[in-house]
C-alpha cells in the first residue's frame, strides 16, 4: 500500500512530479536473473539510506522511496509504477562552517595548553584535537537531506536520473553498481551514437576517427 507523502514529506513537489525537471540519461548494462521484484526490493532495502544524525559522520548516501523519502520502505512493490521502477537516491550531508571549526579548535587548543602548562603543541597533537573537534560538531549538527528521483525502464534498459548535478550523478553510478551489480552507462554524444543509433560497423569505424568540422571556412 502506498502512502501519499509526495507533497508533505518533501515540503514541496519536486523531482518526477515537479513542473520543470532535468534529466540525465543512462543505459543499464546487464540483467537481474531471478525473482526480479523480490531481488530488487531486497537490494534496495540492503542499500537504503542510513540516518547519520547523532553519528560522527559527514555524509550518507542510499536509496529511499519516491513517495516516502524519510521512511525508506520497498515492500509491496511500492517502487513499481506500471512497467517502470521509480525510487530516489538520497544524499544526506552535514556541513560545518569553517569559522565554527576555527573557533572551537582555538578554544580546545587553549584548554590543552592551559592543562599541560606548555606554550606550544606538537603538530600531531593539534591534528588530533582538530579531528576531535570536528567529530563533536558532527554529532551535534543534523544532516541536510537531498533527494534525486530516478525512473528505470527495466525492459528497455533505460534509466533517467532527475538531476544534472555531477556529484549526484557520480554517487548514483557508484551506488547503482554496488546495489544491483549492473553498470550504468551515461548517454552523451559518443555513447548515444554508439549504443542508440543503430550504426553499421563502417559508421562505428568512422565515429572513432572523427575530428571537428569547421562550418564557416572564412572564420576569422
Amino acid at each position: 500500500m502506498r502512502s501519499f507523502a509526495v507533497n508533505n514529506e518533501r515540503g514541496v513537489i519536486m523531482g518526477v512530479l515537479s513542473s520543470s525537471v532535468s534529466i540525465t540519461q543512462y543505459r543499464v548494462e546487464g540483467d537481474i536473473d531471478t525473482g526480479f521484484m523480490d531481488t530488487v526490493a531486497a537490494k534496495l532495502t540492503a542499500n537504503a539510506i542510513r540516518e547519520i544524525d547523532n553519528e560522527p559522520e559527514e555524509k550518507s548516501a542510499g536509496w529511499t522511496g519516491f513517495e516516502s523519502p524519510f521512511k525508506p520502505d520497498f515492500t509491496g512493490s511500492s517502487f513499481m509504477f506500471g512497467t517502470h521502477l521509480v525510487f530516489s537516491l538520497r544524499i544526506d550531508k552535514k556541513s560545518i562552517p569553517s569559522k565554527v571549526v576555527a573557533k572551537q579548535l582555538n578554544m580546545a587548543v587553549a584548554k590543552r595548553l592551559a592543562e599541560s602548562e606548555r606554550e606550544t603543541l606538537h603538530r600531531n597533537e593539534k591534528t588530533e584535537i582538530k579531528d576531535e573537534v570536528i567529530r563533536r560538531l558532527l554529532l551535534k549538527i543534523p544532516a541536510t537531506p537531498n533527494m534525486y528521483d530516478l525512473i528505470w525502464n527495466y525492459e528497455a534498459k533505460i534509466l533517467w536520473f532527475f538531476t544534472g548535478l555531477k556529484a549526484a550523478n557520480e554517487e548514483l553510478e557508484t551506488l547503482f553498481n554496488k546495489t544491483f551489480k549492473l553498470s550504468l552507462i551515461r548517454m552523451f554524444p559518443y555513447t548515444e551514437a554508439l549504443l542508440a543509433c543503430d550504426l553499421t560497423e563502417a559508421e562505428k569505424d568512422r565515429l572513432e576517427k572523427l575530428s571537428p568540422t569547421a562550418f564557416f571556412k572564412g572564420a576569422a
Partner: protein, 178 residues
C-alpha cells in the same frame, strides 16, 4: 568502445556540431526533422542559445537570452568559428508544448517543462500522475534521440562535407548579409 570518461571530453565537439546543425535545420528544413511517429507538429528555438568559440586560442562564450532574442548575434558568432553549446527548444503537438534546454556535451535535458498535468490531490492520484509524466517526458527524450540520430547518420556519411557542411556554410554566410 573508448573509455567513457575519455570519450566524454573527446567527443564534446560532436554535441556542439549537433546543436549547430539543429539550428541550421530548424531555420532551413524544419519539415525534414519531424517524422510522423514523433507526433510533434513544430519545433523552434526558445529563449536561450549559448555559443562558444574555442578557435584561434580564444575561449569566448556568447549567450543570447530572451524570447525572440535577436539570433543575428549568434549567426555572427558562427561566422567567427563559434559553435552552439546549449540551446533552449520548444516542441509543439497541437496545443501542447514542451520547453527544454539541451546541452551539447552531455545531451542532458534541463528545465524540461512538459504540458501541464492535473494536480495531485490524494494518494489515488499519484500513480496516474507519475505515469502521465513518464509519457510526457518520453516525448521530449524520444524527440531529442530522433534528432540526434538524424544528425549522426549524416555526420558519418560521405555527404557530410560535400552537402551538409556546404549548405551550412552558405547559410551562415547569407545570415551575415541580413
Amino acid at each position: 568502445m573508448i573509455d567513457v570518461s575519455v570519450a566524454y571530453n573527446r567527443y564534446k565537439f560532436l554535441g556542439h556540431e549537433f546543436l549547430t546543425w539543429l539550428w541550421h535545420m530548424i531555420e532551413t528544413d524544419k519539415d525534414a526533422l519531424l517524422e510522423p511517429s514523433l507526433e510533434m507538429d513544430d519545433i523552434y528555438i526558445g529563449n536561450r542559445v549559448v555559443l562558444e568559440n574555442s578557435s584561434h586560442n580564444r575561449d569566448e562564450v556568447i549567450s543570447i537570452k530572451g524570447d525572440g532574442a535577436g539570433l543575428e548575434e549568434g549567426l555572427l558568432a558562427l561566422q567567427k568559428g563559434a559553435k552552439v553549446t546549449e540551446m533552449n527548444l520548444v516542441a509543439k503537438a497541437g496545443e501542447n508544448e514542451w520547453r527544454f534546454s539541451l546541452k551539447g556535451e552531455s545531451l542532458n535535458l534541463s528545465t524540461l517543462k512538459p504540458p501541464e498535468t492535473g494536480n495531485v490531490e490524494g494518494e489515488e492520484d499519484v500513480e496516474g500522475a507519475v505515469l502521465e509524466k513518464i509519457y510526457l517526458y518520453e516525448k521530449a527524450v524520444n524527440l531529442t534521440g530522433h534528432l540526434y540520430r538524424q544528425f549522426i547518420k549524416r555526420r558519418l556519411s560521405p555527404e557530410w562535407e560535400t552537402q551538409t557542411v556546404r549548405n551550412m556554410t552558405v547559410w551562415i554566410g547569407r545570415a551575415a548579409e541580413r
